[in-house]
């Protein structure tokens, strides 16, 4: 049970945003800009970064939902998601994406873990400054979202089917804050 009085039966961050819609608005806007805004990284790739960081933070709700969104966006290539979550080095992704995921993994530990050589590797594989910026901020933002969701012990569904539907909705509609029913 959640540590604070949130609406019952509503999963994860949605229940927290319904508890306090004011802060929910910029949180959803940030997710929308980072994961759906203009970028040379695909939406599927950015969702994969979110799932990867959430997996490293052991936040089941965020990991399952963003992995599902990434699978929905990758379509026929959805196997990539599970391959990356299992072992980045052997996954069928570009070397640039591997270098960016390496940076995301460092950010998950702590900002200072990102070393000039990590950034240089990504640059050598063709990553732009904006791609590096966005990777760091996605990883940092999920270090927040994950702690928000787990720190208040919000409800985490265990049925995989539920996440599949959630992922599909996230892929189609993006990040729209839930509306409180009075």
């Amino acid at each position: 049970m959640a540590y604070i009085q949130v609406p019952e039966g509503i999963p994860g961050i949605r229940s927290l945003v319904m508890f306090r819609p004011e802060t929910g608005k910029p949180l959803y806007e940030l997710a929308q800009v980072l994961l759906r805004g203009d970028s040379t990284l695909s939406e599927a790739e950015r969702e994969l970064m979110a799932a990867y960081v959430s997996s490293r933070n052991d936040t089941m709700f965020c990991m399952m939902s963003h992995a599902a969104a990434s699978r929905a966006l990758f379509g026929n290539d959805k196997k990539i998601v599970d391959d990356v979550l299992k072992d980045i080095q052997h996954a069928d992704i570009s070397d640039k994406m591997k270098a960016l995921l390496n940076i995301a993994g460092k950010v998950q530990i702590l900002g200072k873990e990102v070393k000039p050589e990590d950034v240089e590797s990504a640059r050598n594989e063709g990553a732009t400054y904006k791609e590096i910026h966005d990777t760091v901020l996605i990883a940092a933002a999920f270090s927040m979202f994950n702690r928000y969701v787990d720190g208040l012990a919000s409800f985490t569904p265990t049925d995989e089917k539920e996440y599949e539907a959630m992922g599909k909705r996230m892929a189609e509609k993006g990040y729209v804050p839930p509306i409180n029913k009075e």
């Binding site: 540590y3 604070i4 900002g111 760091v136 933002a141 270090s143 927040m144 702690r147 720190g151 208040l152």
Partner: protein, 192 residues
């Protein structure tokens, strides 16, 4: 040196916000909602939580910046702010704030480190659901801000006398895009 090509004349998160104004807007709004209200917890309490978490995350820029903002709200009580950052157990703050700082410290390690006992203790000392929510989200948000600043190796002024000037800007006008788009404060002795 920063990892990306940001404006060299802007320090810390200000340079990153100027690099990416689209993400800066919701981040500034979030900071205002969490740190610029006295509802339940004072603005000083909120900045103390931000400074403590930034200290735990070893983010020099953020712990100095938010420490300096807390000093503004606490009538210049620099010693108290330093004590809360490092070890609040014997600091002259309320037991309720101490219990909330315990929760913030757990969030810094990872969301699952928060325990039902920590929550119960805070509630027994008068913390409301809203106080607990805001504490967890402030701590979580600084796990983002700190990683953003250090993960891109943003410029970090080592001259501590520059922090109170920027802190005054925030104490007077709050957070938002003005902190990078308006003129940066210059120390008296460097004014021409």
């Amino acid at each position: 040196m920063p990892h990306i090509n940001v404006d060299k004349n802007l320090p810390g998160i200000r340079s990153l916000m100027a690099f990416s104004p689209e993400t800066a807007t919701p981040m500034g709004e979030l900071a205002n909602l969490l740190l610029r209200t006295n509802e339940g917890m004072s603005m000083a309490d909120r900045e103390l939580i931000a400074a403590h978490v930034s200290y735990l995350n070893d983010c020099f820029y953020c712990q100095q910046s938010h420490g300096a903002i807390a000093v503004c709200y606490l009538d210049g009580n620099h010693d108290l702010v330093e004590q809360v950052k490092r070890d609040y157990t014997h600091a002259a703050i309320s037991d309720k704030l101490k219990a909330l700082l315990v929760i913030a410290g757990s969030v810094q390690k990872g969301g699952k480190h928060v325990t039902p006992n920590q929550i119960e203790n805070a509630k027994n000392l008068g913390a409301t659901d809203r106080d607990i929510h805001d504490t967890v989200l402030i701590a979580a948000a600084f796990c983002m801000f700190n990683r953003y600043v250090d993960g891109l190796a943003a410029n970090t002024p080592t001259d501590l006398s520059t922090y109170p000037l920027r802190a005054k800007q925030v104490a007077e006008k709050g957070y938002g895009n003005h902190i990078f788009s308006s003129k940066q404060p210059v120390p008296e002795n460097e004014k021409i």
